[in-house]
Symmetry: C2
Subunit: 117 residues, 2 copies
Amino acid sequence: MQSEHFLFGDQVEIEEVDKGITRQILGHNDELLLVKAIFEKGAEGYQHQHYHSQVSYVESGIFDVTIDGVTKRQSAGDSYFIPPNLMHGAICIEAGVLLDMFSPIREDFFENYKKGE
Amino acid sequence: MQSEHFLFGDQVEIEEVDKGITRQILGHNDELLLVKAIFEKGAEGYQHQHYHSQVSYVESGIFDVTIDGVTKRQSAGDSYFIPPNLMHGAICIEAGVLLDMFSPIREDFFENYKKGE
C-alpha cells in the first residue's frame, strides 16, 4: 500500500469527514501517512484515541488542542505529539489547517485496506 | 525517546543544517518524526537515500524535487512520498519551508540516540 511519489494539492480529492471538517489523504505507505485536515471555525475533532503514534502541525488557524486532559492553544508553526493510545482532540477557534501524520498508516481511513499492496 | 506533547514554534531551537538550510526537530517518538526544514533560495538538499519512509509537505516556497531520477516542481500544498532506500533530493527555487516526516525516527538526527528512552 503506497501513494504516488508526487502529490499536487489541487489534484487530490477533498473528502467530507465531519461537520466543518474536510481532508486530503496525502503521501503514505504502510508505515507512514500524512493527512491534511481543513477546519471551519467551531469545528471539533472529538476526543478519541488510537494505537498509532501521531504528530500534528498547525499550518494555519487557531486550535485548542487537548492531550490526556491538558488543553493548550496553538497557532501556525506550533505542533503536537500524541503517543499511542492517549486521548486527544482539537477544537477550531479560527478556521485553519492541521497536518496530521501517523505511524503506522491509519487502516481505518482506507476502504479494503490490505497491508503491502 | 519522545518529545513533549506540545511544541511551540517560537520556542523550538533552530539548528543550522547546511548552506542555506536550517531546521527544527518537532514531535517524535521512536516510530515517527516531524522536522521543519527552512530553505533559502538556491539551497539544495543533496540527493541521498535512507531506509526510513518519508513524506514531505511544501508549506511555502517553490522546490524542484527529484525522486528516483524524476524531477517535478512543487509549491505550497503539494507533497511527496519517498519509499525506503529511494534516492531523492530537493532544490529550493523560491525560499520556503518543507515539513519532512519520517518513520521510524531518524536516529542520525539525534546525538546519543537510544531507542525507547
